[in-house]
């Protein structure tokens, strides 16, 4: 009688150990593998490799907040969405409130309160001017008048030189160009582009898959259960080991 109870307990522990081990095997294998990958992310270049797969990127829902507002320059749309700037569907390396955008000498000049960005026809930035090269900040607007570039900054008006590096006070006054809401068709195209084109570093995706966060609450719940399973497996294993030893 005194021998039967430990044997039954032992059998139960062994059974639990077996089934739990089987259940947790795949997540644990993933934890181990992804953990090793993350530990060597730099050597493996996982920070530089970008994941662009739309089905993964949709989990990151990188859409900016608010609604997109735009200025039309020729047949292009310069859009501000949650402080991010886009030229049609391409993200620009310039951020902030969109104060104005004009086409000047075949270049696109975009003003935000702190910076003036000069772009070629694509999204490549030729020049970025800040407080160091601007006559004053914050900028309040940019305008093209009689082929010359005018700036409104800190309640003053300036005429900017052709190379953008010098300015003289101007008598011309103007206000910030009002932006318009991006038309639905363009908004849909931009939404699609933002969702799918903005890559995520592979290391970030592996980290989020490692923790389960990538798949929302079911993901982290599964991760937690697998981790809990590992703790129970260890305890059961230790218990079985001690029984075998004794």
């Amino acid at each position: 009688m005194s021998d039967a109870l430990p044997r039954r307990t032992k059998q139960r522990a062994r059974r639990w150990h077996r089934y739990l081990g089987l259940l947790a095997a795949i997540p644990l294998l993933w934890f181990a593998l992804s953990g090793v990958l993350l530990n060597h992310a730099q050597i493996l270049g996982l920070n530089e490799r970008m994941v662009t797969s739309p089905w993964i990127l949709r989990y990151y829902n990188q859409l900016p907040e608010g609604s997109p507002h735009t200025l039309r320059v020729g047949d292009r749309h310069v859009t501000e969405w949650g402080g991010e700037l886009f030229l049609d569907e391409t993200a620009l390396p310039l951020g902030g409130e969109l104060l104005g955008a004009v086409s000047y000498q075949g270049q696109l000049v975009i003003a935000t309160p702190e910076r003036l960005g000069v772009f070629d026809g694509s999204a490549e930035m030729l020049l970025e001017l800040d407080e160091l090269s601007l006559p004053a900040t914050p900028l309040q607007g940019v305008e093209l008048f009689e082929g010359q570039l005018h700036l409104a900054a800190a309640d003053q008006f300036y005429l900017l030189s052709e190379d953008f590096f010098s300015a003289e006070k101007s008598a011309r006054s103007f206000v910030k160009t009002p932006t318009k809401e991006l038309p639905p068709r363009e908004k849909e195209a931009l939404t699609r582009a933002v969702r799918s084109r903005r890559g995520m570093p592979l290391s970030r995706v592996i980290l989020d898959a490692h923790s389960g966060r990538l798949f929302g609450w079911p993901g982290w719940l599964l991760s937690d259960l697998a981790a809990l399973g590992l703790v129970i497996l260890t305890l059961l294993g230790l218990r079985l080991y001690r029984k075998r030893r004794s």
């Binding site: 730099q42 030729l126 020049l127 001017l129 160091l132 590096f165 010098s166 570093p201």
Partner: protein
């Protein structure tokens, strides 16, 4: 119990301190401090060949095709930006006679790796030169957990030395 509570509060506050961009110095203040005043802005318009050389240093094109600089008394100051992991690190670099005189992190936006902004780290770039193979004469010590930021600053020091020769 109270000690544990305050420790947790302190840790949480400490964490939030690194949440946003940290401006160590305004670029205009850096130029003024380094050159005594803010001279007129000049720019190097990178040709296709020069862009290729920049790509060899950074592994990609520089953020802009024209790179601004300010020069006075033989010193040239650059305000350069490079991505650490996901955000730009704004760095002020002064070069004189082919040697780095000052490197200073002006704006740090990453959540990790802010240790590169410490003077003890940036001092290592002082008197560094560009070797014939395009590498710098003295590689700075790595900082655990800030490897990408260390690399970004090293690349910017190389870039500044390269650009000084292209004026």
């Amino acid at each position: 119990m109270a000690r544990v509570f305050y420790t947790i509060v302190l840790l949480l506050c400490g964490g939030s301190a690194f949440a946003g961009p940290k401006v160590h110095q305004k670029p205009s203040d850096f130029i003024r401090e380094s050159l005594g005043e803010i001279p007129a802005t000049r720019a190097i318009n990178l040709s296709a060949r020069q862009q290729g050389q920049v790509r060899a240093i950074l592994g990609k094109n520089y953020k802009t095709r024209s790179v601004r600089y300010w020069t006075k008394g033989g010193k040239t100051a650059f305000i350069l930006e490079e991505i650490g992991k996901t955000e730009y690190i704004t760095t002020g670099i002064v070069v004189k006679g082919g040697r780095v005189e000052t490197v200073k992190v002006l704006v740090y936006r990453e959540s990790h790796g802010w240790e590169v902004a410490r003077a003890a780290f940036t001092r290592q770039f002082r008197d560094v030169t560009l070797r014939a193979d395009g590498q710098i004469s003295k590689v700075p010590r790595n900082i655990a957990g800030a490897t990408l930021s260390v690399r970004a600053l090293t690349k910017l020091a190389r870039l500044a030395l390269f650009l000084e020769g292209q004026k």
